[in-house]
Structure formats: C-alpha cells, structure tokens
C-alpha cells in the first residue's frame, strides 16, 4: 500500500475509532467514512459483542439479510469504539459452513433429520416421563429472556429446581464471595475504577488476553503518560505480566496466604482504616458445618486468627517473598492511593474460591480502599451474560430471579405471586448444581434422566469428563438434548439436537461484568430451521400445556407464557410463524423487572435499553421523568439507596446493621498436589483468539489460523530434564485421563518450573478429561487451575 492509499484507507477507518469519554455521546456510532466505504445500502445497528464478559458494543452492518461488516461502536462507554480480534470477527461466526439447520434425532445410532413438531413432542415426552428427573443445563451466554424463560419453565412450571448454568463453573465463587461479604451479589464499582485508580492488582487474572478491551483502559492511560502501577500476582507469566511493574509468582493456593499476610501486616502496623471498619464492617469466621453467614467474631478474634500469618510464614506457604507481601501491605496502608483489584477464574475456579473472594473483599474493606472511584475489589466475569442471566435472573439451582432463593418461603411466595402460579409450585429444596447434575446423569439409578443443554458445550468443558460426561452416553434411558448453533463435542453425543438462532439472528439482552444491561434487536434471519432458544422453551411448554400438564398453566388457567398484543389479545407465540408478531423479549423482560425491584437491582423499562448502550443497575426513575443508572453501589454520592448522611451503607448486610463482613479464612492446602507419580501442576484456561470451547471462533479462518490448536506450555528447565523439544508431541496424564499435546517451550505464557498450562478451546485435545471435579463447599465451583499431572515423551518417540 503506498502512502496515498494508506491515507485514503485510514481516513475511512474511523469506524472503530475510540472516542474519549467526553466525546462519546454526540457522535455517530459509525463514522460516515466507514458508512461510505461499505455502501449506503448497509444498515447499521448496535449489539453487544457475543463473546466475553466485558460487554463491548459493536455496530453491525447488514445488507440484503446478511451481516456484512462489524465496527466498534463509538458511542459505547464500555469500549469507546475499540474491539479485540474476536470482536472484529464476531459477525463471521454466524456463517460457518456447518451451521445446524434442522432438528436431529438419534435413531439406530445416527442423528437423522426430523420435524420441529416431532422434536417438541420428544422433549415434552421426556418431561412427562418424570418431571422431577428432567434438568436444564444453561449458560452465561443465554440472553436474559432465554434464561428467564428456562427458569420460569423449570421452577415455576415443572416445579423442579434442576436448572443450573455453566456459570457454575465460571463465577459461582464470586457470587458466594459477594453474598458472604455484602449480602448481595455483584461488584459495587464499575469500569470507571480502571480510569481512576493509581494501582491495579491482578489476582490470578490475565485481562490482557481474557478481557483485552478492558485492559486497553490501562494501556491507554499509560500511553498518555499517567503513572499507574500494575502488580500481577499469578502462577504463570502471561501477557498481562509483560505490562506489570511487579510480578509476584505464587504456589497454587498461595493466594490465601498472601491475602492473610497483607491483613496481618495492616493490623500489626496499625495501618488498617480504623474509622472505616468501625463504621462499616463486622467480622466473621467459618462454622462447622460451614454456612455462607458463618458466625460473628470480634475484632480481637479476627486479629488472633491472623497472628500466625507473618510475612515469613506466608512466604513459606505462597512462595512470594516476604518483602513483596510487605510491599503489598504498604500500598494498602496508604490511604492516598486508589487501588483496584481484578480477579476472575484464578480466584473462582478454586476449591476455596468463596474464601479467596471474601479475603479479597476483606483486604479492601480492612484498609478502607472501597467506595471511592478507583478503590474497588472487582471480580470480572468470563461470559457475556454470566451476570445478567446466571446471577441476576438466578438460573442457578438454588436461586430465583432478583436475588431470591428457593429455600426461603417468603421468596418462593413472592415469585409465585409474580408468576401467578399456585402456592407451593416452587420447591423449597435446591436442585442439583452442575457437578451433581452430571453425576446423577451418569449413574444408572441417578436422579436425572434427561438434560436439556442450551447455549453451552459440557462435553468439552465439564471437569473430569470421564466421570461427569462420558458414562451417561453408555446408559440406557439417559437422554441428552442439545440446543446449539454448530456441531460440538456435546451434540456429537446427543440424542436430540435442536438448531438455534445465534446472536443478531434473534432479539436479546445481556448483562455484563459491571452490572450493565444491554439490548439488541434481531437483524438477520437464522439459517434453515434454526430457531430462537426462547421460542424452543415456550414451544415445549405449549406442547405440555396442550397435553394437560398442570404446571404449564397459571392460577387462572392461562398458559404459563401468555403473551398479548397491544389490544390485549393472546398471541400464539408458540407457533414459530407468529413468534415475531410481538416482541417476546420485551414481554418477558417487563415481567422479570418485577423481580429486580425486590433486592435493589432495579431495571428500567425495555425501551430505555433500546435507546442506550446499556444501563448499570440499580436504575431508578427520576422525579422529573427519565432514568438514572448507578455506577458506584453502597456509596452515598452515587447510590440512590444509601441513606442520606451514611456515606457508605451496605444495605443488604447479613448482620442486619448496614455492615459488610470481613472474614477470617485460614489457609488450606489444595485438594491434590504433585507427588512422585504426578510431579507437576496443571493449570488450564483460555487464549485471546478463541472463545471458550472454540465452537464459534475456530470456524473463523482468521482466528483459527492465528491459533490453530491446543498445546502444553512447559518450562524450559522441565523440558530439558525430560528431554522434550519445542513442538514435540508429549503425553500428559493425570489420575483421571491422558492426552497428547505438542509442547510449547518459552511460549506465549511462561509457567514456572514444576508446572504446565493447557488451553481448553481445542475439541480434539480435550484437556478437561484430565481436570479435577473437586469443588468449593459453598459455591460448588470446581477447580480447573491446579491438579497433579505427569508429562512424558510419547512412547516410542
């Protein structure tokens, strides 16, 4: 490209130009030059990106019923026009050659096409077989209406609580951490914290690859010359480490010791924030058996618990130098600094995940680094609607929408009233959480006979798959239904496959990591007979209703998903050809809004989200009209629910006095540690090029060629000891399984000697056949980040 061409193209390139925040509101979301480049016949509209939990907005260009261009949305505060490499390719993910386009039923061992009517009959019959043994396994990639419809179908219709999302594997420990600390889920702060902090600490977190556009805020500030300190605390060097001022490498599970070491020093030095703690905090410790509320302890008991966690002791437990733990304590001791902690799977996929999450909150509370912009303990989510759908809609097996739980009689009564179903319809006993659900499915006499999987790929992502997934496929009368957009490791083994619409082929709403609810409209038709997941749920519900299944009627005998038009006439939305006669998403969302006001998670009317690039809850109506979002919860200057004069108020405090809980959590050893037979640590995770199990991104040639296959990252010293060369295929083995992988020495990430890393995106190299299903006692979230493994040269090599 010569200079003239370059200047011409660059002039057209402003489609994704990032606006400074002050400029974001008044500009065209798509640059006029970009509009001209793709042509005036291309219609642009907004949507959140389909992939990670950051919640970037894209502009989607559509011509003649096809998505033809993607640009960053210049009006979006989240990403200010930037996108990562996955985001730029999100439109292409619709157009893979092997999209699922017709229902498929396994007959004589083979999946054969059937009609939708037959497929719906099959699902309905599986429900009728025994509703108490029917389960739904969903996703943090469900849209809010999809999760809400499935939730209502199961808990309000079947009276069965066996519904759980893959988010159980992703952020359940963050939920229990928030509940145990504040009595209510989700971060208090927002992404603005990243613009205002002096220090960012990443705890077992690699946002440079996993939340790249969010990490751009940090890079942007640095590039403008701002002094901002990044401390990366991890078990392996990553791309985030490359930008860090300090890298602190800890032994797996050592995060618990580091956090106790910081708290110990704050107390020993007298540099904890006495005023903040006196006014706003209380202390807690575990009981036996453990509960999320634990027991109240005194400050002196808390201090005594921490007494053994001297820097030297914590160095021995964590491997992090005592001087580095002191350096962290110095930072938290300084009230003039603003400190943001970020964490994600490192803290969550942890057999002590709830404990670590509460420790992270505890260090911020103890030091008073809370409640000011930039001072925030912030857990990030991995999926685009883990917050919006799994956490807020409450699609977990113990939960109900709006922060309600099935075990609470008042909550059940509120939910039954909002759904207008008979008292007693919702069962009090929590359903099976993810690991338990799949265990039961894999036992001949287990409590689950059928699982309907929606928007996820458990055949590749469940831990210890030889125990939790494969056995069910050899059992008679265990029936697996999968709604998906492409063939996957799960559809491969399914009994019934339902082809789904994807992203802008349907209406949708997501909720991102900063409590921001985001809406989009259907822009193109799905291929073949692929249909919306919401429709699939409603259509099955209608089948049951027509068969006289009592649970599909409300108290007045109306269909559970009774949808009316503007003249209050029922619209038969269970008929696909009528489904888009009305906006079913709007209907479900407005019904769901009734729940959100029960725990100060208020959402605005649907149409407010149509106009905006998302709003962060609680969203409250202003006296003069209009709606106002909340950036900083629990802080009087921004949160409308904090009492005047309180400054900070934790209004869902578990101690009932407006206080947050600072927990004492003793260090505990990992569930499995390397030994002479399995001498290395195994850690698993994602890569920047691929979304989760790669079923969408691996079909995009550009992304596939950038990262074509999984590998095992090995430290050079270990490779040398084992005589392994870079690129050589090696055998990786745990007590649960084995696979072969090419070795990558001095690769993108750098594990320390004694540990290896394997990404899980590659279906042909299913690392989750090796991982551990041991899980946190409160969140039930398994640990994918540490187990014992051995590495050998391939036999005969």
């Amino acid at each position: 490209m010569d200079r003239r061409q370059f200047v011409k193209m660059a002039a057209m390139a402003a489609a994704t130009a990032a606006a400074r925040p002050a400029m974001a509101g008044d500009k065209d979301p798509v640059d006029p030059e970009a509009r001209r480049r793709v042509g005036s016949d291309v219609k642009w509209d907004k949507a959140p990106c389909r992939f990670c939990g950051t919640g970037c907005h894209v502009q989607v260009g559509v011509r003649e019923g096809k998505v033809v261009a993607i640009a960053g949305d210049r009006k979006a505060d989240v990403n200010k026009g930037l996108l990562c490499m996955k985001g730029y390719h999100v439109g292409l993910a619709l157009y893979g050659k092997d999209r699922l386009t017709t229902p498929l039923l396994r007959k004589n061992g083979k999946l054969v096409p059937i009609s939708w009517d037959e497929a719906l009959d099959v699902v309905a019959s599986r429900v009728e077989k025994n509703p108490a043994g029917f389960a739904v396994y969903g996703s943090g990639q469900w849209t809010i209406p999809e999760g809400y419809a499935a939730q209502k179908f199961m808990k309000g219709g079947l009276g069965c609580n066996h519904i759980d999302p893959n988010a159980r594997l992703c952020m359940a420990s963050a939920v229990t951490g928030f509940l145990a600390t504040y009595g209510v889920d989700e971060p208090a702060g927002c992404y603005q914290d990243l613009d205002e902090c002096d220090v960012i600490i990443t705890w077992g977190n690699n946002p440079a690859e996993m939340h790249p556009v969010l990490f751009s805020r940090f890079i942007d500030r640095r590039s403008r010359g701002e002094k901002i300190t990044l401390i990366d605390i991890g078990t392996r060097r990553t791309r985030t480490t490359g930008f860090a001022d300090h890298y602190l490498e800890f032994k797996p599970q050592g995060d618990m010791a580091i956090l106790n070491g910081i708290a110990h020093l704050l107390l020993a030095r007298g540099t904890w924030n006495k005023s903040f703690v006196d006014k706003h905090c209380a202390f807690r410790a575990d009981t036996e058996p453990g509960t999320l509320k634990g027991k109240a302890i005194s400050f002196d008991e808390y201090k005594a618990g921490l007494a053994p966690y001297t820097p030297a002791h914590c160095e021995a437990l964590s491997g992090v130098k005592a001087s580095d733990i002191e350096m962290l304590a110095d930072l938290f001791s300084n009230p003039d600094l603003r400190i943001t902690s970020l964490w994600c799977m490192g803290a969550n996929q942890h057999t002590r995940g709830t404990a670590v999450n509460t420790q992270l909150h505890g260090v911020h509370l103890l030091s008073g680094h809370f409640g000011r912009p930039g001072d925030a303990p912030t857990s990030l989510t991995g999926q685009p609607s883990a917050c919006g759908t799994a956490r807020e809609v409450g699609t977990l097996s113990h939960a109900l929408p709006g922060g309600r739980v099935v075990a609470n009689a008042e909550h059940r009564a509120q939910s039954e009233a909002l759904w207008n179903v008979p008292a007693g319809r919702i069962q009090a006993k929590p359903g099976f959480h993810t690991v338990k659900m799949w265990e039961e499915f894999c036992k001949a006499d287990g409590g689950v006979h059928t699982i309907w999987v929606q928007v996820t790929n458990p055949g590749q992502t469940l831990p210890n798959a030889h125990k939790l997934f494969h056995p069910s496929r050899k059992l008679d009368d265990k029936f697996l239904i999968v709604s998906d957009v492409y063939p996957t490791a799960t559809t491969l083994h399914a009994d019934l496959v339902l082809p789904s619409a994807m992203w802008v082929e349907k209406n949708g709403l997501f909720g991102n990591s900063e409590r921001r609810t985001q809406q989009w409209f259907k822009m193109v038709e799905p291929p073949g007979q692929a249909r919306d997941d919401v429709w699939q749920t409603i259509a099955v519900a209608r089948k049951l209703y027509d068969r006289g299944f009592a649970g599909m009627s409300d108290k007045d005998g109306k269909f559970l998903f009774h949808v009316t038009d503007e003249k209050n006439r029922e619209v038969p939305v269970w008929k696909w050809e009528r489904y888009y006669d009305v906006n079913v998403d709007r209907h479900l969302f407005e019904e769901y809004r009734g729940f959100t006001r029960l725990k100060h998670k208020d959402l605005a009317p649907y149409d407010e989200y149509v106009r905006s690039r998302g709003l962060r809850w609680p969203v409250v109506e202003l006296p003069g009209g209009g709606w106002r979002e909340t950036r900083f919860r629990f802080s009087e200057f921004d949160d409308p629910y904090v009492k005047k004069g309180a400054n900070i108020e934790f209004y869902h405090s578990t101690s009932g006095d407006g206080r947050a809980q600072i927990w004492f959590r003793p260090y505990e050893a990992p569930p499995e540690v390397p030994d002479k037979d399995y001498p290395l640590w195994l850690c698993t995770g994602r890569v920047i090029e691929h979304w989760h199990s790669g079923t969408m991104t691996r079909r995009v040639p550009q992304l596939h060629s950038a990262m074509p296959g999984a590998y095992v990252e090995i430290n050079r010293a270990d490779a040398s000891k084992l005589g392994i060369q870079d690129g050589e295929v090696v055998l990786l083995e745990t007590r649960r399984g084995k696979i072969e992988l090419p070795a990558w020495i001095d690769g993108r990430g750098a594990p320390p000697a004694g540990s290896v890393f394997v990404p899980f995106f590659d279906e042909s190299k299913p690392i989750n056949e090796l991982t551990l299903d041991a899980h946190d006692p409160f969140s039930k979230q398994p640990d994918y980040k540490k187990c014992a493994v051995r590495l050998r040269k391939r036999p005969g090599a």
């Binding site: 200079r3 370059f6 200047v7 193209m9 660059a10 002039a11 057209m12 390139a13 402003a14 489609a15 994704t16 130009a17 990032a18 606006a19 970009a34 480049r37 793709v38 042509g39 011509r63 096809k66 033809v68 261009a69 640009a71 960053g72 026009g81 930037l82 990562c84 490499m85 730029y88 390719h89 439109g91 292409l92 157009y95 893979g96 050659k97 092997d98 690859e209 790249p212 556009v213 990490f215 751009s216 890079i219 942007d220 640095r222 590039s223 403008r224 791309r239 492409y486 063939p487 491969l492 090029e689 691996r698 079909r699 995009v700 040639p701 992304l703 596939h704 060629s705 950038a706 074509p708």
Partner: protein, 88 residues
C-alpha cells in the same frame, strides 16, 4: 479532532508496544499480534504526516483499517478444522 481506528501489527520484538505507546495521540488496545489502536490528530493536521509516520514507525509491521468488512463473502466460511468430523 479527527480520530482514526486502526489495527496495528507490531514488529516481533519485545519493546514494540512500549515504543508505540510513545507515539503522540495514539491509544493502544490489547490484541495480541494485531493491536487495535486509535490515532487522534490535531484538527488542523490533515492527517497525512502523522499516519505516514506511524506506517514508517520502526515498531510497526503493518497498519490495517479497523473494521471488518466482509461484504464480499459469497460462501459460508470454513476454517477446515471440523471437516474431519463432518465426514464421519
């Protein structure tokens, strides 16, 4: 003030991003081997000099426009990675 959305391919050496971060008006995102970026220009600068300088910057291997235009896509895409399963 004109702004340009770009995707920069840095040259493969360790300090490339650090060098790019020094470019006035350039906001870097994080994108692995292809880094989203924004270049802001003075309103009285037609852009040619700054963009030309960026193209010639020692840390830059390539600069592309920053939006995906696949309007010429005629056939469904196929990375080939799942072809073997389709044949099964």
């Amino acid at each position: 003030m004109p702004t340009f959305g770009l995707v920069i391919t840095p040259r493969p050496f360790g300090d490339a991003l650090a060098l790019l971060a020094q470019v006035p008006g350039l906001t870097l995102g994080q994108g692995g081997t292809r880094v989203p970026a924004v270049l802001e220009l003075d309103s009285d600068d037609p852009g040619a000099n700054a963009l030309d300088a960026l193209r010639d910057h020692p840390a830059v291997a390539a600069v592309d426009i920053a939006f995906a235009d696949f309007s010429d896509l005629k056939e469904p895409i196929d990375s080939g990675v799942f072809a073997r399963r389709r044949r099964r």
